[in-house]
């Protein structure tokens, strides 16, 4: 076997998988995982750990996998991460742990994400979850939002003996994990629901259909309902639009709307009453994970799909694996072009999208080369649906209804990086609501830090 190469991963055939929502990647079995684990050099000064936002002891868990001690591997991972089955699937490993793997210098890095997933799936299958739980301490904490930040914070606090209630605006908990990321990338019943059930089994209550700021305010939670502290993990759900002509046309959707219909509402499946538009040809504007998820969902609902992205392939912010899968499945990538107008017919419905060619100029603040328009290069693509995946920002609802909660100019809640404490006593925040749209692992890490921050705040420093 070539030690420079990863043990190949088994996958659904691209021709078959574009017709359904089954998970694309099958993951390793134990034999494959042990073979891949054997590629790890167990560096003494392991760089990969620095690439992990929650500092999982990667060489240690891989060493356990090598020996076939999966239970031990799970214990090591769970010490740092509470949503490993999710993160093993959706983390951008190529820019985090795997980027720093020494194996990656000459060949392919160790498939750390795939190994994490294997261990976490094994834990789910064998029902082993860490459950050392302290006796109840009589203090109540409210967690707002049930995405990765909220779930993690709630789980950690429950373990420390707090009585935790999560309040979620939607009818199902999970945040982006249920409404945004499609099942072909992150199975719902097999993974997300299991993670949530695990958190509930620690005694966390989940109150769905509760829009904090409307159904109840943070001030009421603290002053009237007896909560000693509140954690805000409300994400960054507000979709952006471009403000170009035709954007209000019939058949123009935000990726959030399209994905929510398909994922949360299960539109397109036999029993669901929620409608979803099926187009002949779709343009998806954007190049991140959200754009790719929308594109591959549209493909599965029978459309021809064009990604429209203003930079080049190297700058696509989506996970490398997803770009690879999308190409295999037949998504058409139109790079270095930017939409200038959505063309509509006499009824006001989409009939095409007018784009202009771009070229890469000098680097901007983010270090990426700035795309500039090529004068006079406009051209039209005929499509009957457009999905806008241009990013999202935090919902202003909570800030607008909570006295003394500071936000920055991007409407992100201001919170201390270490403790998650906001400008308001007893109120903590973390995840996309603080950073703007980021990643599952960062949200999870923030939820964990805030749980520690809340514990110190309520128990006066005892750790």
């Amino acid at each position: 076997m070539d030690k420079q190469k990863q043990v190949p991963i088994r996958m659904e055939d691209p021709v078959l998988r574009v017709k359904c929502f089954t998970e694309v990647c099958h993951g390793y079995n134990q034999e494959e995982a042990m073979a891949e684990a054997n590629r790890c050099l167990e560096c003494r000064n392991a760089k990969c750990i620095n690439g992990c936002p929650v500092a999982i002891d990667i060489p240690a868990f891989i060493a356990a996998v090598k020996k076939g001690e999966i239970n031990e591997a799970a214990t090591i991972i769970f010490r740092a991460s509470s949503l490993a089955a999710v993160c093993g699937r959706v983390c951008p490993q190529e820019t985090q742990c795997e980027k720093l793997c020494v194996r990656g210098i000459k060949g392919e890095p160790v498939a750390i994400g795939k190994l994490e997933r294997f261990v976490a799936d094994w834990a789910i299958a064998n029902d082993v979850f860490p459950s050392e739980k302290k006796p109840p301490n009589g203090k109540k904490v409210a967690v707002i939002g049930s995405g990765p930040a909220g779930l993690t914070c709630a789980g950690d606090l429950a373990k420390r003996g707090y009585e935790v209630t999560i309040m979620e605006a939607l009818h199902e908990p999970g945040g982006v994990l249920v409404y945004g990321i499609p099942a072909f990338r992150l199975p719902k019943a097999e993974v997300v629901e299991k993670e949530i059930a695990n958190i509930k089994s620690m005694g966390v209550k989940i109150e769905t259909n509760t829009v904090v700021g409307k159904s109840v305010t943070i001030d009421e939670l603290l002053e009237e309902e007896g909560y000693a502290a509140v954690f805000i993990g409300t994400g960054a759900g507000l979709p952006k639009f471009m403000g170009i002509p035709g954007e209000q046309g019939g058949g123009v959707f935000s990726a959030n709307e399209y994905l929510t219909r398909a994922n949360l509402m299960k539109a397109g499946t036999a029993n669901s009453l929620t409608p979803i538009m099926r187009a002949k040809s779709v343009a998806v504007v954007g190049g991140g994970n959200v754009a790719l998820d929308a594109a591959r969902t549209a493909l599965r609902l029978g459309s021809e799909v064009h990604i429209i992205y203003r930079r080049s392939e190297a700058e696509l912010p989506a996970r490398a694996e997803e770009v690879h899968h999308a190409k295999e499945e037949g998504v058409i990538f139109n790079l270095l072009i930017n939409p200038c107008e959505i063309l509509t017919d006499e009824r006001g419905w989409v009939r095409g999208i007018r784009c202009i060619k771009m070229e890469l100029g000098d680097a901007d603040e983010s270090g990426r080369r700035r795309p500039v328009e090529v004068k006079g290069s406009e051209f039209d693509i005929a499509v009957d649906m457009v999905i806008m995946a241009l990013g999202t920002s935090p919902n202003p609802l909570i800030a607008a209804t909570t006295k003394g909660l500071a936000v920055d100019k991007w409407k992100c809640i201001v919170a201390d990086e270490e403790s998650g404490l906001t400008s308001k006593a007893g109120v903590f925040a973390g995840g996309d609501a603080v950073t703007g749209a980021a990643t599952v692992i960062l949200a999870m890490g923030a939820g964990r830090m805030a749980a520690q921050g809340i514990h110190e705040y309520l128990m006066g420093g005892d750790k």
Binding site: T210, V216, G237, L238, G243, E247, L273, T274, M277, G348
Partner: protein
């Protein structure tokens, strides 16, 4: 699960539920709405709150069967439960936050079309309950579709009922009634019109001519109702607004009604097919 304390049939296809929800009943104000799901497979349906009882922790909802989802809702009886209900959503009517002395100087004219009577009711009740004048026009296509007449009679300063075919009350559309009232010397400081989008469009055109500031309550397609999806976006005074968080009430003289009607039709063919399948069952 949220218990339906009482389910009533108002007309052949209009129903009223009184639903238990302590949190919503405690905080809701006139003008706000909720999102309900009948069951596991149900769509998220926005419905304006048509009355509330803070003491009993209940709210009332009135809906018309227009598709498969509202059909499924209409099958629920007293004692059954709604799977989900979230709210109160949207902003409340602006008069709720206006100083009472100002309000008492004003004369309100409400114009409700069909099932639009339901959202108008709590607003009128609130205003007249606070000693403010509120005349109300309720309009229907014909007598068999008339709803909430006696309830409205109780709270309105003056009630005018119209039917398009003259089978009950004034013979003509609500716009003709508005003209007649103004010609007879009635003057109004503000008009609040709620009903089908075309009705609101024509009322707004007329009141613009008559110089009466007008508020409408928009009912676009919605999914989450919390500002997350943009399905509910409208153009108001040239700017894009999300009805679920910026509204649902807007300046009727600024709303782009034609665009709103086009956007309402986006799922028409899918919805029709689903409805046909549902009633065939």
């Amino acid at each position: 699960m949220y218990k339906i304390v009482e389910s009533l049939t108002l007309t052949a296809d209009i129903f009223q539920f009184e639903v238990k929800s302590d949190r919503i009943a405690k905080t809701c104000e006139p003008g706000q709405f909720v999102i309900v799901r009948a069951d596991e497979n149900g769509e998220r349906i926005p419905l304006t709150i048509s009355d509330y009882n803070r003491k009993d922790g209940t709210i009332k909802l009135v809906f018309q069967v227009v598709g498969a989802s509202t059909h499924a809702l209409s099958l629920l009886k007293t004692g059954d439960s709604l799977k989900d209900i979230a709210g109160p959503l949207g902003k409340c009517s602006s008069f709720v936050n206006e100083p009472q002395e100002n309000l008492k100087q004003k004369r309100f004219l409400f114009v409700a079309g069909g099932v639009g009577c339901a959202p108008v009711f709590p607003q009128v009740k609130w205003l007249t309950g606070n000693g403010v004048t509120a005349d109300v026009i309720i309009g229907f296509r014909n007598k068999s579709l008339v709803i909430m007449e006696s309830e409205m009679e109780e709270v309105a300063t003056k009630l005018y009922v119209t039917t398009d075919d003259g089978s009950h009350g004034y013979h003509g559309q609500v716009t003709a009634m508005i003209k007649e009232l103004c010609q007879a010397g009635q003057s109004y400081d503000i008009c609040i019109a709620i009903g089908p989008t075309v009705m609101m469009k024509y009322v707004a055109l007329l009141t613009k001519e008559l110089g009466i500031p007008t508020i409408v309550s928009m009912n676009p397609v919605m999914v989450d109702g919390t500002g997350m999806c943009g399905a509910c976006r409208l153009t108001v005074d040239g700017e894009v607004k999300f009805a679920c968080v910026d509204g649902p009430e807007f300046d009727g003289h600024m709303v782009d009604f034609d665009e709103a009607m086009m956007r309402l039709g986006q799922y028409h063919s899918e919805e029709k097919a689903a409805y046909r399948a549902a009633i065939a069952e």
